[in-house]
């Protein structure tokens, strides 16, 4: 079970001009004291077409995190307009907030973002080259999309025994020397070996 639960994310300064920094007020709860920091990232999706245009706006370490409920404001600069394909500047895109612990992502919160000209004139006849100063960013704060991933919260050594929490990907990538010599990974066992009916 995840040791950290995100209770709420409040989108501050929204809607706002395109050039304003992003501000998210994040409230999370932690089951027990975490020996290591959490790493939060804000990722701006420049284009729906390709991940190539993703920009990590900022990443920040959060810690120390004792057991309890905590909040902080994560502020990150607006995306670099030079990296956004001109055709995708106006319209709907996505901003992602991710959190990783010990290098493993365990939660991903996504918001739709609508970039629109406030001026009806510009809205009707948008310039070919986006005029970022006139763009307004509008985050659909009421509809966050939250994806949680099971990760291993314990120290890396426990990872082997504690297969239920392990993300299979890094596990299989481990060099054979660090694989435990005993028993095959439990993860290979069927979830429920019982004949239920």
């Amino acid at each position: 079970m995840a040791k950290v639960q995100v209770l709420n994310v409040a989108v501050l300064d929204n809607p706002s001009p395109f050039g304003n920094p992003f501000q998210f007020e994040i409230t999370f709860e932690c089951m027990e004291d975490l020996p290591e920091d959490l790493e939060w990232k804000i990722i701006y999706v420049g284009s729906a077409e390709s991940e190539e245009y993703d920009q990590v706006l900022d990443s920040v370490l959060v810690g120390p995190v004792p057991a309890g409920r905590h909040m902080f404001v994560f502020q990150a600069d607006a995306p670099n307009t030079g990296l956004i394909p001109e055709s995708d500047a106006v319209g709907v895109t996505v901003v992602l907030i991710t959190c990783t612990y010990r290098g493993q992502e365990f939660i991903r919160i996504g918001y739709y973002v609508n970039n629109e000209y406030t001026d009806p004139e510009l809205r009707e006849n948008p310039p070919v080259k986006p005029n970022y100063t006139q763009l307004q960013r509008n985050i659909l704060a009421s509809n966050p999309r939250v994806t949680r991933f099971h990760i291993n919260w314990e120290a890396t050594l426990d990872k082997m025994e504690d297969s239920e929490n392990v993300d299979p990907a890094p596990n299989t990538m481990l060099p054979p020397t660090s694989m435990p010599s005993k028993a095959p990974p439990l993860g290979l066992m069927p979830d429920n070996s019982m004949d239920c009916l």
Partner: protein
């Protein structure tokens, strides 16, 4: 009977594996499969019970849902006190849930369902130990333990008052363990497994009581669960899936002798779950009919893979009701309401059904008092759980009493420190928030929060802690509601979202640090480090283990010391039989409970008829004895006979050494026994003389002429005890030069038996103790001039006395002293008692009482103060637990003594050097734990206070 299938109770069509109604009857929990995880849901009971509540939209149906289990939840169970919910699932975990105070309705952040969680239940403990799916969990009576069973073939008993401590892992099943049930009396726990067996385990020593296989030998195929159940009167245990004549049954197992003569027959497929109604019923008296006494009976519901449910009364030969085709798939779990009239059943098909019975159908449920009376009848005691609920209505009159009661409750409450009483939490919360409202904090959070740069230049934010774990003011969640009213419409804009949607769930590959390859790289070095450290660790361990070996070496010594004379003497005797050869030099590392060592050089049997000294011995000539005083100072006593011959007389030498200091002295006769204590050294010679020296080698008294050859010689402190071959005993105090025991004959204890003296010793207080070969041990009381029996190995009282629940954790270590020595290790509380489960409780109670009183008086007789105190406290606890008011009063009175001094009073303020009133101060908190004695408590508390002020 009314039948209802509340369609709104579902897991979106996914199977429901378990259902349990909260003890207060207001809600119930279901467990099963969620979307991509296990799911636990807490539902409101009211809409199930009443149609108008079901229709009222203001009454919530779903109270809380928890998706924390990673895989299917197989079992949910409320603790008896209703504070906790335990759930076990395929993710091998047991989670314990508790309702979080002060948190109002909230949604799960980002969850698609807009249903708010009306109640907040959060996981307070994750119990990890099982290596396979957890199939069943069960709280013991009083919520002392939580048991969980798993497909890893084990049952784990968790200490519910100190999670995640494991009390015991029960191993023995050779197949998947799929059901658990506690005996309502608390003596046993039963488990049923796929290995065609049902096992009953004792809670006393966690050993297997019985293994029942016969009714299950024919069982073929598997069922998902095997939920068995114990009847509320404790007399019957009913299994799930059993076979009789190749037909599926639920086997009835009688507590008395674990007989398996009866079963519930009729289901067409395997029985998956059996659940007894918590109530005991009696026949409903019809109007007009003469009230005739009828036998109380139990009620039991049986669910099967054949999708049907049957309800049985133990007074009827046929089922009360059978309901077919209630579900589309196998029945998985059954739970009764506490009043015994309602029944919830859940099925693999993802639905639940509610059955509502009337009293006409089931009978009159006995009230708690009547139920208690039945328990009292069968087991001699009412179950404390009902007692406690009974007592909870008692008003606490005394503040001190309240304190002890609260302490006790505090101890009982797991995670008591985190208890979420409103009084505790509110100040904490305001503390955290420093009196600021959350809104204020939020306004300035960005400015206020501490941001630093790490060494590598990264931003690091210290989050603001707004609440301790498991608290959180209502403001915390309610005010952070998502208030933004933003709408995204326009269909054209929705189009690119499909492409975007995948981005929400897929971990971005372009994001550095999140990609799998860098991740692996990131992890590998870490692993290496761990590896190397794990290589180092064993080395460290080696060192520590060698260290601990030393400790172990040291331990047996001190252990042997404690174990005492009994073993010590045996060692001595064995040595004797070996008859060491002439001139052999012997080193005897004998450790003894008291700073004394006796080294017998020959065997002398003391019996009433013996008069001869066994002089058939080969004389030992040189020997050396270790006298342990303390661990740091070891004294050696060395005897060398025939050291030199001077003009025909043979001289013997006695050598004493400790810490480099040593002395020696010469005696004219051959030394037969030498022994020493921390104060003196005593030596007996062949010519029947006894010499006593100080530890500096100065002769204390001229040789004492003994009336008969010596059989045993002991020293302790400045006391010397001699046991003559003529079966007489003397004890002298060589410091005061007085005789404590003068040539006392052992005839009173030896006559009429063939017993011989097997062992003897002297306590530090100078009390002579003699053990006979028939297992009896006596001490001689010099003021009464009587032999007193202090221990008897054959004593059935010792073996049947059961005072375990009066032992505190410190007491469990046992007491050290002469009494413990004589009784040895065979004194483990109620060892036999467990086997005598059929012994009526009142008999065992009586035996325990008698035993404890014996112990108390024996400790007194042996002048063993620490043991006296030890047994006094156990005795007091026993009296309190079992409710012996008269004896308790007498005990308190004796300890308190007269409040007003009067010359006529013969009351002694001390006993064995312990101040009686100090003892009373220790006993009072024990009394304070039972509300029934609050008057008594107050009475003595006040008087003690009065005396203290004087």
């Amino acid at each position: 009977m009314k039948l209802l299938k509340p369609s709104w109770v579902n897991h979106n069509g996914k199977p429901i594996f378990s259902v349990d109604i909260h003890p207060d009857g207001t809600k119930f929990a279901t467990g099963g499969q969620g979307e991509d995880s296990g799911k636990v849901v807490i539902w409101n009971m009211a809409p199930v019970l009443r149609e108008e509540d079901e229709k009222n939209e203001n009454i919530p149906k779903l109270l809380c849902q928890m998706d924390n289990h990673l895989a299917c939840v197989n079992c949910v169970r409320w603790s008896n006190n209703g504070l906790y919910l335990a759930s076990g699932g395929d993710d091998k975990l047991v989670m314990v849930w508790k309702r979080a105070a002060f948190i109002g309705p909230s949604t799960v952040f980002g969850s698609s369902s807009k249903l708010a969680n009306v109640e907040q239940w959060r996981c307070v403990m994750i119990l990890r130990n099982h290596t396979g799916d957890v199939m069943d969990v069960a709280w013991s009576p009083h919520d002392v333990w939580l048991a969980s069973c798993s497909v890893d073939n084990t049952i784990v008993i968790w200490n519910a008052r100190k999670f995640p401590e494991i009390v015991m892992t029960l191993k023995g099943h050779t197949g998947l363990v799929k059901g658990l049930t506690w005996d309502p009396v608390g003596k046993y726990i039963a488990s049923q497994a796929d290995d065609h067996s049902l096992k009953v385990w004792r809670t006393m020593d966690w050993q297997m009581e019985t293994n029942i296989t016969k009714p299950f030998s024919e069982c073929g195929g598997t069922t998902h669960v095997l939920r068995l159940s114990w009847s509320p009167d404790g007399q019957y245990l009913v299994s799930a899936h059993a076979m009789n004549n190749s037909g599926p049954t639920a086997q009835i197992i009688e507590r008395d002798g674990w007989k398996t003569n009866m079963d519930f027959v009729g289901h067409r497929k395997a029985v998956t779950v059996v659940k007894f109604n918590p109530k005991i019923f009696k026949k409903k008296q019809k109007n007009g009919s003469t009230p005739k006494p009828s036998c109380p009976y139990c009620c039991c519901a049986v669910g099967s893979k054949d999708r049907s449910l049957s309800v049985w009364l133990t007074s009827l030969k046929r089922p009360l009701v059978v309901i077919h085709d209630l579900f589309d798939k196998s029945i998985m779990d059954i739970t009764w309401t506490l009043n015994g009239l309602g029944l919830l059943v859940c099925s693999m098909d993802g639905t639940v059904a509610f059955l509502d019975f009337s009293q006409d159908e089931l009978g009159d449920p006995l009230n708690e008092e009547e139920k208690n009376a039945i328990h009292q009848n069968i087991y001699g005691k009412s179950l404390a759980i009902t007692m406690e609920s009974h007592l909870s209505s008692t008003i606490i009159e005394n503040p001190e009493m309240l304190k002890y009661q609260q302490e006790r409750q505090g101890n009982q409450n797991p995670n008591g420190a985190q208890g979420s009483g409103p009084e505790n939490q509110t100040p904490k919360l305001t503390n955290v928030l420093n009196g600021e409202s959350l809104e204020d904090i939020r306004k300035n959070l960005l400015k206020k929060q501490v941001e630093t740069r790490t060494a590598d230049g990264r931003r690091r934010i210290t989050p603001l802690c707004i609440a301790q774990l498991d608290t959180g003011g209502p403001a915390a969640v309610n005010s952070i509601g998502m208030k933004s009213n933003l709408l995204l419409t326009s269909a054209s804009k929705m189009e690119p979202m499909k492409a975007l949607d995948s981005r929400f769930t897929e971990r971005s590959k372009a994001t550095p640090g999140v990609t799998s390859v860098p991740l692996t790289i990131g992890i590998t070095p870490l692993d290496r480090v761990k590896d190397s450290s794990s290589v180092k660790e064993p080395k460290v361990k080696d060192e520590t283990s060698s260290d601990s070996e030393d400790k172990i070496m040291a331990k047996p010594l001190s252990m042997a010391k404690r174990k005492g004379e009994m073993e010590g003497a045996e060692v001595v005797e064995k040595r004797k039989k070996g008859r060491p050869r002439k001139d052999a030099k012997m080193m005897m590392p004998i450790s003894q409970p008291f700073p004394q060592v006796t080294f017998l050089l020959w065997k002398t049997t003391v019996s009433k008829s013996t008069n001869r000294a066994c002089s058939d011995l080969q004389l030992i000539i040189k020997t050396r004895t270790k006298i342990h005083k303390t661990t740091d100072a070891i004294a050696y006593l060395e005897v060398e006979n025939e050291v030199s011959v001077v003009s025909g007389a043979r001289l013997s030498q006695l050598k004493w050494s400790r810490d480099g200091r040593e002395w020696d002295t010469l005696l004219t006769s051959r030394i037969t026994i030498a022994t020493g204590s921390s104060d003196i050294v005593a030596v007996a010679c062949e010519d029947r003389t006894l010499s006593v020296f100080t530890t500096c080698g100065r002769r204390l008294i001229p040789s004492i002429m003994l009336p008969a050859p010596l059989a045993a010689l002991h020293c302790s402190g400045h006391f010397v005890m001699v046991l003559m071959a003529s079966a007489t005993l003397s004890v002298w105090d060589v410091q005061k030069q007085t005789a404590l025991v003068k040539n006392e004959s052992l005839n009173p204890i030896l006559s009429g038996t063939d017993a011989t003296v097997s062992q003897s010793f002297l306590t530090q207080q100078g009390v002579a103790v003699v053990s006979l070969s028939n297992g009896k041990t006596y001490c001689f009381n010099s003021s009464l001039e009587t032999w007193n029996l202090i221990a008897d190995k054959q004593d059935s009282l010792v073996q049947c006395a059961d005072f375990r629940n009066c032992l505190t954790s410190q007491d469990a270590l046992g007491s050290m002293g002469p009494l413990a020595l004589t009784q040895g290790r065979n004194l483990s509380a109620g060892r036999l008692a467990s086997r005598l489960s059929s012994t009526p409780h009142h008999l065992q109670q009586g035996m325990t009482l008698a035993f404890l009183e014996n112990q108390l008086s024996s400790a007194l007789m042996l002048l063993s103060a620490s043991e006296y105190r030890h047994w006094l406290l156990i005795y007091a606890r026993f009296l309190v637990n079992e409710g012996y008011e008269m004896r308790l009063r007498e005990l308190c009175q004796d300890l308190l003594g007269p409040v007003h001094k009067s010359s006529s009073s013969s009351w002694e303020p001390t006993v064995l050097g312990l101040r009686k009133r100090d003892l009373l101060t220790e006993v009072l908190p024990v009394i304070g734990q039972n509300l029934r004695f609050q008057r008594l408590f107050t009475e003595y508390q006040d008087q003690l206070e009065l005396l203290r002020l004087k």
